[in-house]
């Protein structure tokens, strides 16, 4: 894309939908530097691919496609990194009561569970967390709606099983 051609527009759209990039980077990378690299790579690919964007479709759907494709390719390089958990944000809580601690534990278990998911299942989970419709998930991932529904249901069952196993111990 030549500089200035649609540049303002694409930058505005990326800024409007920046939560997508945060969510994907935080889901696929545990290391701060990797998140930076992945975020930068996603933005680069979005700007580069923007001329191919069809305005008849939702920008967020298109953005998810690009960002997930870049993230999965990046993730598959299988870097071994030191973990930086999202739970650390709770350090700001003054009220460290039992409820908050339990919530932290549950979030930690959930994060570990999502970390362990395979690349494509993780993508499905990210879209599910975003409350995307099965139809939109189908457009982004490229499998049937039935397949989407079945896989999400299986992942949720496994997650419930994980929690019940932990609670039993």
């Amino acid at each position: 894309m030549a500089p200035n051609v649609n540049q303002d527009e694409v930058l505005r759209l990326i800024q409007e939908h920046q939560k997508i990039i945060y969510k994907i980077c935080n889901s696929y990378c545990n290391n701060k530097n990797d998140r930076e690299d992945l975020g930068q790579e996603i933005v680069y690919q979005l700007i580069k691919s923007y001329p191919a964007f069809n305005p008849e479709f939702k920008f967020s759907t298109w953005m998810y496609r690009v960002a997930l494709n870049v993230a999965i390719s990046f993730y598959r390089k299988a870097k071994n990194d030191n973990k930086v958990t999202l739970v650390s944000q709770h350090e700001d809580y003054e009220d460290n009561n039992e409820h908050v601690l339990r919530l932290e534990d549950n979030i930690s278990i959930l994060q570990q569970f999502i970390d362990e998911l395979k690349e494509l299942d993780k993508a499905l989970m990210i879209l599910y967390l975003e409350s995307k419709s099965y139809k939109e998930i189908t457009e982004i991932i490229g499998i049937s709606e039935t397949n989407v529904a079945t896989r999400i249901s299986r992942i949720k069952e496994k997650l419930k099983q994980r929690f019940s196993n932990i609670n039993q111990h």
Binding site: N26, V43, S49, N69, Q89, I126
Partner: protein, 223 residues
């Protein structure tokens, strides 16, 4: 855990993922110079580096074929029979690699991150699996680098050094290359020899490609 509890937990986690803004995204997007900065990141693009590598490999392969072809053209005589056979075999294997690499370039040009995730990932995985397969084939040519200098005179005049040194070395290389051809796979990725030979994330990702292709198939079929 109840459905409603799980739903709440997922919502909190989703919110945390969005809010954990460890990225410097704001500055890249807002700063008008970011376009130039991003352009400088081009080299970091994984596909770009792959394309450059393949172009370089094709160029090197063609150059090597020209040299070998020239030598072969001037060697058609009985006394150089081992040279002719070895160089011909190397030329055949190198041409196969060049054709496959050229095909990869066509596929690389078709990779489009704006396509759905499964389609794009499948194309990338196919490319990677093909790259590792042609690498395995390239290993097979190593035996011919041990035989090209043999001559019938050498076998007749110095049988002892041929059968005790030259032949065992070539046999060892031949056996080694066939062994590598059969054993370079994700199943052996945890082994020490494998880690020494393919000690980089790029190779790990290539080796995993066949496995990943199966995973994508299972994902598509909901298996």
């Amino acid at each position: 855990m109840e459905d409603s509890q799980l739903k709440d937990l997922l919502a909190i986690y989703s919110h945390q993922l969005e809010e954990a803004r460890v990225l410097n995204l704001q500055s890249w997007v807002l700063n008008y110079k970011c376009y130039e900065a991003l352009q400088s990141q081009k080299a970091k693009s994984k596909l770009k580096s792959l394309i450059t590598f393949k172009k370089f490999a094709i160029l090197l392969g063609i150059l090597w074929m020209l040299i070998l072809g020239y030598l072969l053209f001037h060697s058609f005589e009985m006394s150089k029979i081992f040279f002719v056979i070895s160089v011909s075999a190397i030329i055949v294997i190198t041409s196969a690699a060049i054709i496959v690499y050229a095909y990869h370039l066509v596929l690389l040009a078709k990779i489009n991150n704006t396509e759905n995730v499964v389609k794009t990932q499948e194309t990338i995985a196919r490319l990677q699996a093909s790259t590792i397969n042609i690498t395995r084939i390239l290993f097979l040519q190593s035996i011919f680098y041990c035989t090209f200098w043999w001559t019938p005179e050498m076998i007749l005049n110095s049988p002892l050094s041929f059968w005790l040194i030259s032949f065992p070395v070539a046999f060892l290389f031949g056996w080694g290359s066939v062994w590598l051809y059969r054993n370079i796979s994700y199943k052996n990725a945890h082994k020490k020899w494998f880690k020494i030979l393919f000690n980089s994330p790029e190779w790990t990702s290539l080796i995993k490609a066949n496995e990943y292709l199966l995973e994508i198939e299972r994902f598509k079929l909901n298996a």
